[in-house]
């Protein structure tokens, strides 16, 4: 490998690409050639250096200097100053702010990075970077030092459980697929991360694709599979591209294809792209989609380990599950199981979003409490507001309140509390969120994404949504809550797949913890969090209003009247309660009343 005195890393995340990261790469390369530095300095593409908020971003090593906000035209100047004259260009230097909006920044307190350890550290488009940090060594170890049974045993004793949400022990699943006497067998990687607010898998696929591929190859060796599919959602074009590059490189290096490492083990892999259907995250629907059919779930049994893709035994795991595997094989089951709780081992990635100070991607050991995640890792609630609830497990999960803050996070504890682990989205809500509206929002999502195959889900989710809409519109009547409860029970008991069975969960959990909010909507015609449009009104407060007319200009329905420099007035009849005026007012003169 050539030796370079300096490395320049350019972030190529979607946000930075949009701001011209590729132009920066080209400009850097041109300039290094022009200055005769190209043999001394290497330009690499990576992902997620900082927040991308002020992209494009580049990082210069070994100095560790972070530049951002430049355009391709600034590059000649930057190269001359930094690389020829050795002066740091303060103009573009990233100033560390106390609060940085970012997905994945420096290690936060209490974080342990296993799955995310390489993200942002290596060039995902260059297999040599992965090899340099002992990539594909685990595969070698598995092929030469371990029998397939031993690999399964190792994964089983590590305690690794399915990271897609259900938490089925990965080793056990592999064992089941291995046992079936039918060939060929398939490996499937579920990269259809559809939960709103969850983007953990995207980061792994974009930042460290080889760890997933290596995990799949090891899995294929263990279960005796000869071909694999990574099913990635179409909303992640960068991840698909990165994966395709990574697979081509792995093939070139002989990690995929026939006679891997000179053994008689053959395995190859391709990416299949979805087309925007949430239900395809369900494993039977996903396999139908791989086969080019409508992504409708089918009843189990037969389980995929017996009859999956093309009617053959198929092992299906999530991105995060696979990316844990290489490290378990190389560092051993004992290392992995030393992290976590009695029942749930290892670490888990979470995408923390909503009203927190530091939203973003985190990886924490299992067994950490919600309080630690929200108030220590994520920096607490934004704007000093009060914590109200956190939604875990996406639209099929539930919300957890104040009383659950000290719950140690593991699969069982979350299920017992009425929620679920899910793939790992955590949406934190403060006192300004209306729980009825949140339940309506999730039901709107599941109703739209219901595939329509089975009646309880297709019709039931629609009826639940209508009831919730009615309550939010201030038209709720006595008895609606009971109707809602009944309907939810029916839908969850009678639906075919996880989507329908889980769809009522947000309603169940909000009803359980925030029944008084439902009652306020129905009996008092009041929205306590001041969110539901039909139950609120906007008012302009006289002393604060300067008559600047910003609100009047921005009002979509011209409901705001008043002369310049005079206190304005909102006509309640015309107002559609969109809230734009409140957002654009620079003097906090507009308040919302219920």
């Amino acid at each position: 490998m050539a030796f370079y005195r300096s490395h320049v890393l350019v972030c190529v995340d979607p946000e930075c690409l949009a701001k011209g990261a590729h132009e920066i790469v080209d400009a850097l390369q041109d300039e290094f050639v022009a200055q005769g530095l190209i043999d001394e300095i290497q330009v690499l593409e990576t992902s997620r250096i900082g927040g991308c908020a002020n992209g494009p971003e580049i990082m210069v090593y070994p100095e560790g200097i972070h530049y951002h906000g430049m355009t391709a035209d600034d590059i000649p100047f930057l190269v001359e100053e930094h690389f020829l004259k050795g002066r740091v260009v303060e103009r573009f230097r990233e100033v560390v702010k106390p609060v940085v909006d970012e997905e994945l920044g420096p290690l936060r307190p209490k974080e342990v990075r296993v799955v995310l350890r390489n993200c942002g550290q290596i060039d995902p488009n260059n297999i040599e970077d992965y090899l340099a940090i002992d990539g594909y060594q685990a595969l070698g170890k598995a092929l030469f030092e371990m029998t397939p049974e031993k690999v399964i045993e190792e994964v089983l004793s590590s305690g690794l459980r399915g990271r897609g949400g259900a938490g089925f022990p990965a080793g056990k699943k592999w064992g089941l697929t291995r046992q079936v006497n039918d060939n060929p067998k398939y490996m499937v990687c579920n990269a259809d991360e559809g939960d709103p607010g969850a983007f953990m898998n995207r980061r792994v696929l974009e930042g460290d694709p080889h760890s997933v591929i290596e995990g799949m190859i090891i899995g294929a060796y263990a279960v005796g599979a000869s071909y694999g599919y990574i099913y990635c959602r179409a909303e992640y074009p960068v991840a698909v591209e990165t994966l395709n590059i990574a697979i081509a490189q792995a093939r070139e290096f002989g990690f995929l294809g026939n006679n891997i490492f000179g053994t008689d083990f053959n395995f190859d892999l391709e990416v299949r792209v979805g087309a925007g259907a949430f239900v395809c995250g369900e494993e039977t629907a996903l396999m139908a989609s791989i086969m080019g059919k409508r992504g409708e779930p089918s009843p189990r049994p037969p389980f995929p380990s017996v009859k999956g893709v093309w009617g053959k035994p198929t092992n299906n795991n999530n991105v995060e599950t696979y990316s844990n595997v290489p490290q378990i094989i190389s560092k051993g089951a004992a290392w992995y199981s030393s992290m976590g709780t009695e029942r749930s081992k290892g670490t888990k990635t979470f995408a923390v979003g909503g009203n927190v100070v530091k939203p973003g991607l985190i990886e924490v050991p299992m067994g950490i409490t919600l309080r630690e995640i929200i108030f220590e890792v994520a920096g607490g609630i934004k704007d000093g507001k009060k914590y109200k609830a956190v939604q875990t497990g996406g639209p099929m999960g539930g919300c957890l309140t104040e009383e659950h803050l000290d719950l140690p996070l593991d699969y069982e504890a979350l299920t017992e509390a009425g929620s679920m682990m899910g793939s790992g989205g955590l949406v934190v809500m403060d006192e300004n969120s209306c729980m009825v509206d949140i339940a309506r929002f999730f039901m709107d999502f599941t109703q739209a994404e219901s595939c329509g195959k089975c009646t309880p889900c297709r019709v039931g989710t629609r009826r639940i949504l209508e009831l919730l809409q009615k309550i939010c519109d201030g038209l709720g009547e006595d008895g609606d809550i009971e109707k809602l409860e009944n309907l939810c029970h029916e839908v969850s008991r009678n639906s075919l797949c996880g989507l329908g069975q889980g769809a009522p969960n947000p309603v169940f959990s909000t009803l359980k913890h925030f029944r008084h909010e439902y009652e306020a909507h129905i009996y008092e015609k009041r929205c306590p969090a001041k969110v539901c449009r039909s139950l609120i009104r906007y008012e302009i407060q006289a002393p604060a209003c300067t008559g600047c007319m910003v609100c009047a200009r921005n009002c979509p329905v011209e409901a705001i009247s008043g002369e310049r420099r005079q206190t304005h007035h909102i006509d309640a009849e015309t107002c559609i309660r969109c809230g734009i005026c409140m957002q654009v007012c620079n003097f906090n003169a507009i308040t919302v009343e219920s």
Partner: protein, 168 residues
């Protein structure tokens, strides 16, 4: 058995030589791969922007599968469009984080600025407004995706600037 006979509109991609070549190419590239329907449709949708009914019939015939199967797949997945869209699309992320951060105000503003509803295209065929599921840029919520470009932390009063950029 009666066959569905349909007049193919003159502006259909099947009547435009270049676009027909794209369709033929997509079929030729994928027809021998298992599960070809999705692969062909994804390619055609990506390159042409929609899959009209005549196109579905053409693909079905070439892949030697029933039209119903192709149509079933097209209507199942939200990515496949059966009608041409505007030159530019503005998508509003409806993920939880964006919802909480107030994407609905942005939608309101967009509808008002362009005088069209969600899912519609402006009369000049320039801009289509769409809602989309989480694009995974939650830390920048609320997020609007203009063609392939992500705009985060967007407030309603900044929307006209985005619009101006698209229209220019």
């Amino acid at each position: 058995m009666t066959r569905l006979q349909q007049e193919i509109p003159t502006n259909d991609p099947l009547n435009i030589a270049e676009q027909k070549a794209i369709i033929n190419n997509a079929i030729a590239n994928n027809k021998d791969r298992p599960g070809a329907v999705m692969l062909v449709l994804n390619e055609v949708q990506g390159k042409i922007g929609h899959v009209s009914t005549p196109m579905q019939a053409y693909i079905a015939r070439k892949l030697k599968i029933p039209l119903g199967q192709v149509h079933g797949v097209v209507t199942f997945y939200s990515f496949f469009q059966t009608q041409p869209r505007g030159k530019h699309t503005i998508k509003f992320c409806l993920g939880t984080a964006c919802y909480v951060a107030g994407v609905s105000q942005l939608i309101e503003k967009a509808k008002q600025s362009l005088n069209i509803d969600m899912g519609q295209t402006t009369a000049d065929g320039q801009i289509t407004l769409e809602e989309c599921r989480c694009v995974g840029a939650c830390s920048q919520a609320p997020v609007v995706v203009v063609d392939e470009e992500i705009h985060g932390h967007l407030r309603p009063n900044k929307f006209p600037q985005i619009l101006k950029k698209v229209q220019s």
